[in-house]
Symmetry: C2
Subunit: 668 residues, 2 copies
């Protein structure tokens, strides 16, 4: 048995009585950055645990960036030992915060003093205890506060009736001063947590992908100059991000022919993902598209139209990439001396060499790959779609994306990972701003509700921002292959109303291309391997619906974030209904989609009134922003009928009726 | 824009490709110790995230204690990037574990090699890749494994038909050897996590509290010797922990009289919680109870009967405690020079001085208080009930309990905290082995189901072990004040079957004392302030039911832990039904309680068959372990009828019927 003196003394830090725990928002205890956008209000919450009935006080210290002085905002009690504070996120970049808390000696004293006064007890000694606290605060305080506290000390100490001095001791102005000058010598402090504050585009974006090489006249290889002429078409539909497949020189070795055949003809342009040739690699442009200057002009023209240009970064090399010759240490060498090509055994992709991210040359490789982003940032690019990030190490992305974000916090990265759920989330935690999702294959009400609920709520939504795509150059899902016009319209509206970010691969989407390469989930005559010409003016183009949808998205802030997404029960499995609303409730959008592409469906929605901030029996107007029809409704049970041959969806703006003092009714 | 060379190189640790995440069990990312008992199997789970389709391997390293060598157990895939391993907990004390993971190069190679072989591809180069991996492993390996791997290298390298060599390369024995000698140079490793392995009594315990001073003959002050004579009574009822209120000298200053009156008469014994007098403090015994040697004999006698003695540690002092004179720096001094007594304004407790846990003398105070535990451990005590721990700082408990557990891991601490939920859980995280609960006031089916579900599932159950008390010397809840015999029996059976640990304060409980001090939730003529004599042989004593319940608990391992607790729907709000079972399903207990103390209630239970491991339409025997009645049942819908005037509960052991090869039916 150790004697008392044999026990080690507790660490001095143990003297701080408050336990600071369970801070939100945070990811894995602060190991990754929580994502928000400029304009958000960050709601920090924390448990402050203090023994007994003493009062606790605390604050959130925060700063823009990772150096410099901290600002402070007081924590207020939310009940049950939970405390909260809000921080307005006004600047793009990292925001750091930490929580500090201490025993509020004056509040504790005041609480007991009041109760004793109420019970008519003698409080002479208690008053002296209060004076001692004020005297100590006066010593800590500076400026006019110090003077004011000194005055209180004197006022409380003079000869005067106890009742008068007690009244002074409980002066609300004194309580405020004491709050401002607490004794924080034994405060508890949390670790530092980080928030990545992105530009609003990271959360609310409408993407349009197209191949610039298919914009040439008369079937010729399109150039950046040709692609510029496509931009007004895209802008008119209301998109704000144009995304181009890789724009680099394309390798000739093992070049793929049309429909992914192994032998390319002399005129075949090859796959843009076979990156690198004699003309250069990841920091060069394919001469068939033009020059770097042409590209910069394309970016500038897009910018004039309110469109950001996203380019595709695919970290892999064709056998003709200059890296292969200059940096053999960045590739895996096979026992026969050749370089290891990409494989998914037994499939071989001999036109593509993967990098060896953990090989001998890993550090210089990582530095070079990060510099690729810096090169394109220099050319005006701020949005990157990253190809297959799940085939590169997570620690690489964590390092690389931080290198970029630390210097260019306005940059946005879209992760093109269609892989296992935890790996997709792992990439988001590593720093990707947005991610592709399984939406592409989720078609039933049950699937959509479960999946969208998962990805739009914390903890997932704190790091993972969904970007919903009905199609991509790689994926023509089965339901589009066999679908009707209503299928395309429904998938478009689902994507654009379920998620604040969505995208389509056009023109195949708006032209409702649906023929696959036989037996596959890919388009026939895919632009990945050949140049296509599209008749954009085809009469049945979905362009008007897309334009309407994007306008609705711009005009309704409820659709510009995902946290408020709520699904409402409908008594028909083929009808799905959900709402989104702004924090203040001023904008409330209810979407209803008929998932049956062939038949008219009817049903009753049971609107979750509490979730949308309405009261039972309230009357309101439902304004269909697609058809412009208006309905006057009352209560939460809403009848709907949707004929897919007309339009498979309603996108209602719900307007509450209000009664003014003059009994004049209007819609808010 | 930084040039490539301007970017800092990544930290060497970033080369490890596997991300190790989401380790369970763990509390707050490993900040507190997870609790288990000796005999448990610890199921460790972890996400291992690796880019692409490469194969991952990993293990859990663990050791008893915090020094010495680590043992290892391989992680196996559970699907969806989750991996698991089990560790048998054979030793009381801290167990440390950490997770290591790496890319399994050989498994990755073998997977691709098999697929290429299956596709009939030429694999000469691939075989060379495999040989290189085996050669490298042979260099790493020692002993016979090294020789064996060397042999494989030679066998694979000789001139022989490719097919023969391919067959050797895929020899399962080689795969096993390669698993044993992986390349771990770029492995990822988690932080160290800790498990507190307690003695089984920490999880499964039946407590009986009594006042030794009420065991004297003819109303005299009872002694430890008198209390010894009470032990067979307690042992016969089947309890395994006897808990005594504080046994220290009782202060005379401001001593309380009967029923908590402010003036004590000369013969009044005072409250045992007013600790300390001229005869000593926390390391002395009240002379009226006997000597330290008498106490040790009491402990030894209890031990002979299979009973552990728990004493109450209340860290507070009467004004007469030697600490007050010897260590004035351990108390708060008021401005008038007096010592601050305990308060709950406007209430004053002038017979008790709280310690100043964060004052100038805090470190020596903490050391002294910790030494109190060591003193009583020296006297043979291994179980401590700690009074009002929520009025002392959490960091104190974290430090103090670790001092004890690090030296005496078999010690158990029960937290007597009836306070806010997060503070109760905070105390459990700080190291208390068991805790009082809100069960004392939870009476409706809805309350009981919600609360017991919360406290018997992770994350709460990983640190918080409930101990359910129908009554305490401080609490005679209203439902007992107005209840019938059925109320007492029902509360007893609920406590002892809902939770693996429970306790009663006797004899008032078994004698169904129910008269409160008027207007209060306390017993009239409370033993806290006076000596009582009890007629243990009263005809209506609950003793036979208690004895039966404790026997059922001992004989049914299902009732000795809480993780398997499942509530089953009953179509009557006054009937509650729940089951517990062992991991292997061999012991399955279904309890049904009538919560109505006055009326016969009937209803149908809808047994959750999946939760109890039974199939639909299975027939089984329900054996009521209280009444010994047996029922043959089939399927999950069970009719029950309970008359509170007979017995308010069934405790069924469910036995599944099995059919042998000889078509002879019996019950497992």
């Amino acid at each position: 048995m150790p004697s008392t003196s044999a026990l080690p003394p507790p660490d001095p830090s143990a003297r701080a009585r408050v336990v600071v725990a369970n801070i939100s928002p945070s990811i894995d205890g602060g190991q990754s950055r929580v994502k928000r956008v400029r304009g958000d209000r960050l709601a920090v919450q924390v448990d402050l645990l203090l023994d007994g009935h003493d009062k606790v006080a605390g604050l959130v210290s925060y700063r823009q960036g990772t150096t410099g002085a901290f600002g402070e905002v007081a924590l207020v009690s939310l009940g049950q030992d939970r405390f909260g504070a809000e921080i307005a996120l006004t600047t793009v970049g990292v925001l750091q915060f930490t929580v500090a808390a201490w025993v509020d000696e004056f509040a504790t004293w005041a609480w007991g003093f009041d109760r004793k006064l109420d019970a008519g007890q003698e409080v002479t000694v208690e008053l002296l205890q209060g004076i001692a606290l004020v005297t100590a605060a006066a010593r800590r305080a500076s400026g006019t506060d110090g003077e004011a506290l000194g005055n209180y000390t004197r006022l409380l100490s003079v000869e005067a009736p106890l009742a008068d001095r007690a009244r002074i001791a409980r002066d609300p102005a004194l309580a405020l001063l004491m709050q401002r000058w607490p004794d924080r010598t034994a405060e508890s402090r949390s670790a530092i947590f980080e928030i990545e504050v992105d530009p609003p585009l990271a959360q609310f974006s409408s993407w349009y992908e197209f191949f610039p090489r298919s914009t040439g006249r008369d079937g010729r290889h399109g150039t950046f100059a040709d692609a510029e002429t496509r931009l007004p078409y895209v802008a008119d539909m209301g998109f704000d991000v144009v995304y181009l497949p890789p724009i680099h020189p394309i390798g000739a070795s093992h070049r793929k022919g049309p429909n992914n055949t192994l032998q390319a003809g002399p005129e075949d342009p090859g796959s843009p993902w076979a990156i690198g040739a004699a003309q250069g690699g990841h920091k060069a442009v394919n001469p068939a598209l033009g020059t770097l200057e042409d590209f910069r002009r394309f970016v500038a023209r897009a910018q004039e139209l309110g469109i950001a240009v996203a380019i595709d970064i695919a970290f892999q090399a064709s056998p003709d990439h200059p890296y292969v010759r200059e940096h053999p240490e960045w590739f895996v060498r096979r026992p026969d001396g050749s370089i290891q090509y990409a494989e998914n055994p037994p499939k071989k992709y001999q036109d593509v060499y993967p990098f060896d991210f953990a090989g001998e040359g890993w550090q210089s490789l990582w530095q070079e790959l990060a510099s690729v982003f810096f090169f394109w940032i220099e050319q005006g690019v701020r949005v990157f779609r990253v190809d297959n990030p799940h085939t590169k190490p997570l620690p690489f992305w964590r390092w690389c994306l931080r290198q970029v974000k630390d210097r260019h916090p306005d940059v946005i990265f879209l992760s093109e990972a269609f892989t296992r759920p935890k790996l997709m989330y792992g990439l988001a935690k590593a720093g990707f701003s947005q991610s592709y999702t399984y939406f592409t294959w989720r078609t039933s009400k049950r699937e959509l509700e479960a999946y969208l609920t998962e990805i739009t709520r914390p903890p997932i939504s704190d790091h993972f921002r969904p970007n919903l795509w009905p199609n991509t150059p790689d994926i023509l899902p089965e339901h589009l292959q066999i679908g009707t016009r209503a299928t395309f319209a429904a998938r478009l509206i689902l994507a654009g109303t379920l998620s604040s970010s969505y995208g389509i691969y056009g023109p195949p989407f708006e032209l409702m291309e649906q023929t696959p390469r036989p037996g596959s989930e890919e388009y026939i005559d895919n632009e990945k391997f050949q140049i296509r010409s599209w008749d954009l003016d085809r009469a049945n183009s979905l362009r008007p619906i897309i334009k309407r949808l994007n306008r609705i998205r711009r005009e309704n802030p409820a659709l510009q974030s995902n946290e408020s997404l709520v699904f409402h029960p409908v008594d028909n499995e083929l009808l799905i209904a959900y709402s989104k609303s702004t924090v203040d409730g001023s904008n409330l959008v209810l979407t209803v989609v008929n998932l049956d592409a062939h038949h008219r469906q009817t049903g009753y929605i049971d609107l979750d009134l509490a979730a949308v901030g309405m009261v039972a029996d309230e009357s309101f107007q439902a304004h269909d922003l697609i058809s412009d029809a208006r309905y006057l409704l009352r209560g939460g049970r809403i009848f709907v009928e949707l004929d897919p041959n007309v339009m498979p969806a309603h996108v209602f703006r719900l307007r509450r009726r209000a009664r003014t003092e003059h009994t004049f009714e209007y819609y808010l």
